[in-house]
């Protein structure tokens, strides 16, 4: 049996990983924001608590940020996502995962090594280390080769355990 959804969610997404500690994640993210100069990003976290903490931190860093998590009313979540799609905000922090065209950077800690391997095995893909030149060249190739609005960065924070 072929699961087309997994294929669909991976197509058009270029995946890299960066190796970090918990204490380095904010620094790493801030550097990605400044170096990539991406129009919009979606950042995935594994807990509602962390979604709120990260959204607050991103706002403190001077970037506009919305957030969505499972404890919010569905109607409100829809509204936030609608506003994000319409460009009212540049960054969205949320739980859960969904794929679309763009660049995905996984922030991997030592504890995430099992998850990283499981994802590679399940999706039969190779997530490569982020290249040394971190700039628009990481995603302009995808932008020009795709037809849609893929000027979107996904930064995914992997955790060993799901808290929800």
């Amino acid at each position: 049996e072929i699961n087309l959804m997994e294929e669909l969610t991976l197509k058009g997404i270029t995946q890299y990983y960066a190796y970090v500690t918990e204490r380095q994640k904010v620094h790493c993210l801030n550097t990605l924001f400044s170096r990539l100069q991406i129009n919009q990003s979606i950042i995935f976290c594994n807990s509602t608590q962390r979604v709120e903490l990260l959204a607050k931190k991103i706002t403190q860093l001077g970037y506009s940020c919305f957030y969505i998590h499972a404890k919010m009313m569905q109607e409100y979540r829809n509204r936030v996502f609608h506003d994000f799609r319409n460009g009212l905000c540049r960054n969205l922090v949320c739980t859960g995962r969904f794929g679309h065209l763009g660049l995905a950077i996984n922030l991997i800690t030592s504890e995430d090594r099992f998850n990283l391997k499981a994802i590679e095995d399940q999706l039969v893909t190779d997530i490569k280390p982020i290249p040394s030149s971190i700039d628009k060249s990481l995603y302009v190739a995808e932008y020009h080769s795709a037809s849609g609005d893929c000027d979107v960065e996904e930064v995914e924070e992997k955790r060993q355990q799901d808290s929800t």
Partner: protein, 57 residues
């Protein structure tokens, strides 16, 4: 489990994480600390030895 999560949140968002924001994060230096092929090989060996239950624990 919740205590572990809180500890990680404290590490991630606690005092001092903003100290180096004026400089670029050292992606290459950190990547050098993680030999993915070797780590994955170790996981494979460990799983063969202990069975699938060892994953993620």
């Amino acid at each position: 489990k919740n205590g572990q999560m809180k500890h990680r949140d404290d590490e991630c968002f606690g005092d001092g994480v903003d100290d180096f924001l004026d400089t670029d994060f050292d992606f290459e230096g950190n990547l050098a600390l993680f030999d993915k092929a070797a780590v994955f090989s170790e996981i494979d060996i460990s799983e063969r030895r202990n069975g699938a239950r060892s994953r993620g624990t």
